[in-house]
């Protein structure tokens, strides 16, 4: 994955570049909005990581300019402003996701991977398959090894989101935001309990578990036999 980091804080930028490289991604870097905009115009990136407050050209303006030129590279906005209003403004300006500082790198990584994936053809697919687990988005039916699994509507959406990002790490906040559409911190481990319920329905009576917990990050659904 080719990532452009537009961030004026040198230390943050170099940390991000190093960490992204360790994960096998190519990370380029711009220290101000102007340079960032030029780089994003000239090269094809998979994802942009844009700091909201930038010298020369504000982060939202950079994204706005790109969108005006119909350059649709997914953009993740990083900001110290974390209120609902700020998030709404960021997304309205053309950002695809919004992450508040300070953040965990695992959270950032999971989000940019999800953003890059969004452009893939699987996005619009009507059937998700992971191993012998099949989810049909049209009939709202889930089967594992041909056996039907009964899910509550919310469990279905949870599984749908996990399977859409099969093989990727999905964080608890991403689940809360995308499955429940809430952006606050629920304090208690509510998401974990929902996931463990789902797990008991799809994994309990089968030899190979598909839904895995990624320590310190979140969850992933994948067929580990391959």
């Amino acid at each position: 994955m080719r990532v452009l980091v537009i961030e004026d804080d040198l230390e943050t930028a170099s940390f991000l570049r190093r960490a992204l490289k360790e994960q096998g991604h190519v990370a380029e870097y711009a220290a101000d909005g102007q340079t960032g905009l030029e780089l994003a115009r000239a090269n094809a990136y998979d994802v942009l990581i844009v700091d909201r407050m930038l010298p020369k050209c504000d982060g939202l303006a950079v994204i706005g300019a790109l969108r005006a030129e119909e350059i649709g590279t997914p953009a993740l906005i990083l900001s110290a402003l974390g209120e609902v209003d700020d998030r709404v403004k960021g997304l309205r300006a053309g950002g695809d996701d919004y992450l508040t500082k300070p953040y965990a790198f695992s959270e950032l990584l999971a989000r940019i991977e999800a953003l890059a994936r969004r452009k893939s053809p699987e996005e619009g697919s009507t059937r998700f398959v992971v191993g012998d687990l099949v989810l049909d988005r049209l009939s709202h039916k889930v089967t594992r090894a041909g056996e039907p699994i009964m899910l509550q509507p919310r469990e279905f959406r949870l599984l749908e989101y996990l399977m859409k990002h099969a093989g990727q790490v999905v964080t608890r906040t991403m689940l809360l935001e995308n499955v429940w559409d809430y952006h606050f911190d629920p304090q208690t481990n509510v998401i974990d309990v929902h996931v463990s319920r789902l797990r008991s329905k799809i994994d309990k009576n089968f030899a190979t578990p598909l839904l895995h917990t990624v320590r310190g990050a979140g969850y992933t659904i994948r067929d580990s036999t391959h």
């Binding site: 974390g82 209120e83 609902v84 209003d85 709404v88 508040t100 300070p102 965990a104 919310r154 429940w180 559409d181 809430y182 952006h183 606050f184 911190d185 629920p186 304090q187 208690t188 481990n189 509510v190 309990v193 929902h194 463990s196 319920r197 310190g216």
Partner: protein, 486 residues
Amino acid sequence: MTALTKLFRTTTFRLSLTYLALFGAATVVAIFYIYWNTTVLLTRQLHDTIDAELKGLAEQYTNGGLTQLVRTIADRSQTPGSSLYYVADPDGRRVAGNLTSITQELSNSLGPVEFEYSRPAEGGIETRLAFANVFRLPGGYRLIVGRDIEDRRELARVIRSAMLWGLGMMALFGIGGGYLVSRNLLARIDAVAATTRTIMEGDLTGRLPVNGSGDELDRLSESLNLMLARIEQLMAGLREVSDNIAHDLKTPLNRLRNRVEAALHEPYGEPTYREALERTIEEADGLIKTFNALLSIARLEAGAGGDNKESLDVAAVVRDVAELYEPVAEERGITLRTKPVEPVFVRADRQLLGQAIANLVDNAIKYGAPQQRAQGGNGSELEVSVTTEARGRMAEIVVTDRGPGVPSSDRDRVLDRFVRLEASRSEPGSGLGLSLVAAVARLHGGTLRLEDNHPGLKVVLSLPAESQALLNGTAHQPSGAELRSA
């Protein structure tokens, strides 16, 4: 600035002076106008009378000669208040008339003339003013007919002195009154200024004097006092918050620092370091959460965050949140029940409302249980119920539990930042949850109250409901037809 110059500079005093000048000028103009008109009228009457008499006497002379004229004048002189007459021969000698002598000037003139004459009065002779017309009769005789106008002179004098006295009194009362009123007002303003200074010096307990008269200054003072009370309350809140922040953020920071320091001194290898680092991150995450919550509350209290209000069905949000927490509750042996209710619409920010309800449910799950647990019960009897009711014009979200509740004396206090009751210290938490709910309630024009659930705690979050008319227009429930066609 001396007390007197300060007084002269007051608005009241300046206004008094201005009005004084205006009234003075108006009075002078009015009196002068009346006087002048009267004089014109009187003069015309005087001229007419004298002219008529002259004409009559001239006819007498023409018809009956000097003898007839002298007789007529003698007759007329008998009536009290008669005109003044004087007839002189061509040599200037007096022939007849009630004027005994005339001045040289008068005897030489012709036509209308003003002159002074003497007449006997009590204790001597008095000089009076008269107006006359001098007429030359055929044969060289001169006829002088005049009227005493001393009364008019007197009238002018009286009016002039009345005017002067009047103006003098007006000035005296005006300036005196202005002075008294200004001094009174100035004293009150000075008292206000003195209080303001003490407040500026940092003593927020000072209040402006109110004398109970209910006048404009009193009303202003009352409003300002209310404002001061609010400011004092806010300042106290701010001070308390800073103290609390200092305590509640420094403690974990210190813990974090100690842990890192201890890890550095540990002689063991990587696993120990790893564990220490992981716990450090946990601690840092906790701090970040506390910071975020504090910032959110501060922003909400400053009135920010209300830009994303929309028409929302509270019942749906409650169901959403209940559904989110239901597995956690079940895991803890708590039954989370929501009463099915009709949609109730409010104008709210979905995220904030969701978070507020989530905080209430979270609290109920965490703190609504301990008693039964301690007794070793299975806890299955605990319940958290969430209901929405449109009571009148308010939508009420009620969260009840069967826990130990909150003593009535602590109910206001627990809404403050960082306040955690002793009984709850064993559970993780920042003491900011209810503060945030209260701030959300205020932002939406609603209230948060804590009540006794006999036993347990009943928390009521009430928000202004949207009117029925609006509700019908924006109802989000699909109609039967829509359901069928779907």
